[in-house]
């Protein structure tokens, strides 16, 4: 598992080498610098992402999009932000003021924190992804906690609180209903998200994002190591988790005034907006980290660290483009279709796939025929899928026979 390490002859585990020796002022300053750079880069990236999305979706809809603020309208987001900042900040009389003010930050802060564990660069082909900053060896990510991926899941759960508390504290019934709907959606898809992720963890054997990326060096990407399906599930679940089209019924702008953030205005609304797009970027970065090998790729530059950054950026743009493309193409799901897809298809499928992958590994360890093990597991999966669909059909028939029936 730690092949890269034994080559280098390093005994310690994969933690950030910055903290291997004694932590002094220099280490603290470097960490602060990384935090500051990540913060600034993420904010600018969000600004550009909103612009990119608006431009690209206009191109896909025979429109022009923002074109007045700056060259190609690139400062449109900045202009919108400034406008929102100077608008009246309204807090409804019936609201729970403290929670109302807290909720936008519960949405925004997790979006920032998730990005902290994403390795954005570093040379993983020859080394273990270290770079040298002011004479100190470190990783090109803000932090590499041993529980990296769990942090990602935890933060995406905390973001649900932002949505839920925003609706609840508004003191208005429609935002409350919208937030119930939104949190139901996010909680449902978190299950599929986590289960598809389990396939990656099974293969890489670590929760640390840095180690997961190092495992995929250079072409050993989890995309094919886990046989594609987990990534497809993860992408669908991530789209739903991000409340992006076609799963954007949380704030379906053609149908609702605003969903859970109806009562928010001014900068507080801007924070939700910011968090939403920041989550899109961070979630894409997570997909790249988990399935596409992060900064891994053949070195095509002479500078070692630049190649990793460029690969990461290219892969990130691929997913950002895909998210916008999805939005431009697909019609919105109905609520029951959303729930059906999540609970009746994605969760069973990701569980079943985990079973197939595990049986493949176990067969390898025990010296059994791997192909046979996979075929048997697929057969079991098919049988279970048949049983599940039978159960669903029976349930539907019962519902139709007794449409008003309760649980009695």
């Amino acid at each position: 598992m730690m092949a890269g390490l034994s080559v280098l002859g390093v005994e310690e585990p994969f933690y950030d080498p910055l903290y291997h020796s004694e932590v002094g002022l220099a280490e603290v300053l470097i960490t602060l610098l990384k935090v500051g750079v990540a913060f600034a880069v993420l904010l600018v990236a969000v600004m550009l992402m909103i612009w990119f999305e608006r431009k690209l979706i206009s191109d896909m809809q025979n429109r022009i999009g923002p074109n007045l603020a700056g060259p190609f309208g690139i400062f449109q987001t900045l202009a919108d932000g400034i406008k929102l900042f100077f608008k009246e900040d309204l807090i409804p009389e019936q609201s729970d003021r403290l929670v109302f003010k807290l909720a936008p930050y519960l949405s925004l802060v997790p979006a920032f924190l998730v990005f902290a564990v994403v390795p954005v660069g570093g040379d993983f082909s020859g080394g273990d992804g270290r770079i040298s900053l002011f004479g100190h060896e470190t990783f090109l990510q803000v932090s590499d906690p041993p529980v990296g991926i769990l942090l990602v899941l935890a933060m995406s759960s905390v973001a649900v609180y932002g949505v839920m508390l925003a609706g609840w504290s508004s003191g208005s019934k429609y935002p409350l209903l919208a937030s119930v709907r939104a949190s139901a959606q996010m909680v449902s898809y978190e299950a599929a998200l986590g289960l598809s992720l389990a396939a990656v963890l099974l293969k890489s054997g670590s929760l640390s994002t840095h180690e997961i990326v190092a495992e995929q060096s250079v072409w050993n990407w989890n995309l094919w190591v886990t046989w594609v399906v987990p990534m497809v599930i993860f992408l669908i679940a991530a789209t739903a988790e991000l409340n992006r089209p076609p799963f954007d019924l949380v704030e379906a702008e053609q149908e609702l005034v605003g969903g859970f953030h109806t009562e928010y205005s001014s900068i507080r609304f801007a924070l939700f907006y910011l968090a939403e797009f920041m989550n899109t970027i961070t979630m894409s970065a997570i997909v790249v980290t988990l399935f596409l090998g992060g900064p891994n790729g053949p070195d095509f530059t002479t500078v070692g660290w630049l190649s990793g950054l460029l690969w990461f950026f290219i892969k990130l743009m691929l997913f950002l483009f895909a998210f916008v493309w999805l939005r431009a193409t697909l019609p919105r799901f109905r609520y029951d279709q959303l729930m059906d897809l999540g609970w009746k298809l994605l969760i069973p499928l990701s569980l079943g796939w985990l079973l197939v992958l595990a049986s493949y590994d176990v067969a390898g360890d025990r010296g059994w025929n791997r192909g046979a093990a996979v075929i048997v597991s697929l057969a079991i999966m098919a049988a279970l899928a048949g049983l599940l669909s039978l159960a669903l059909r029976t349930a539907r028939q019962r519902r139709e026979l007794d449409p008003h029936g309760g649980f009695a």
Binding site: N62, I64, W325, A328, T329, L330
Partner: protein, 224 residues
């Protein structure tokens, strides 16, 4: 592949050189599209060729207005100096453009073709009293053209075909009425000639008058 075809459609839109990727946006304040002939803009109050006002103060426009934006008061014509050829005239005539929806129902209702709509829609008044157009502002000038108020931006052609001509001819109506003139004359223009009809060839531009004569002496003469 049915599910994936949509993705190809949106992707093809990115090809800007082709017909499918053509940008349809008009950069509005910088470039303006030609307006259709029957465009509904701000109203004008028309006058007859002799300068008399067409409005007779019947308040049918105010009655039919769904937005309740028209206020009319009629009064008896002064015998020595009549304003309109009829018994009464529009003494007060006000339209509130903060409420008007330009549905053209007042134009349909008007029995004397007094109120019609121009093609002007770019008028940005900056206070509420400017938004209420009075009769002095609505009535056409002595040259038969609508008056231009300081906050109005008239494009060339906005004041053409503001009269009942627009409603009275219809290329898609019955061929029997083609070339018939059923509208009154107006100040500065006289009786406008009819629009070209639907049974005509596009090449025969000058056949309007002949057609009108034929119909007058033909089977359908009885309609008048």
């Amino acid at each position: 592949m049915g599910y994936l075809q949509g993705f190809a459609v949106t992707l093809r839109k990115l090809l800007k050189g082709t017909e499918t990727g053509r940008v349809v946006t008009t950069q509005y304040p910088d470039e303006k599209r030609a307006k259709p002939e029957r465009f509904h803009g701000r109203h004008v109050l028309n006058r007859y060729e002799d300068g008399m006002e067409k409005c007779i103060g019947c308040e049918l426009c105010a009655g039919v207005c769904p937005a309740r934006c028209i206020y009319v008061r009629g009064a008896d014509n002064p015998p020595d100096d009549p304003v309109s050829p009829g018994e009464r005239f529009g003494y007060v005539y006000e339209i509130n453009y903060l409420r008007c929806i330009h549905c053209d129902l007042c134009v349909e209702a008007c029995p004397t073709e007094a109120i019609t709509e121009s093609k002007l829609f770019e008028f940005s008044f900056t206070n509420r009293s400017d938004a209420i157009y009075t009769k002095d502002e609505l009535v056409v000038g002595d040259d038969g053209r609508p008056q231009q108020l300081p906050w109005e931006h008239w494009e060339p052609g906005d004041d053409e075909h503001t009269s009942a001509w627009v409603r009275a001819t219809s290329p898609s109506g019955q061929a029997a009425y083609e070339g018939q003139v059923a509208w009154s004359g107006e100040l500065g223009y006289g009786i406008r000639s009819p629009e070209r009809g639907q049974s005509e060839d596009a090449s025969a531009d000058s056949a309007d008058e002949e057609d009108a004569d034929e119909h007058d002496t033909g089977d359908h003469g009885g309609h008048h």
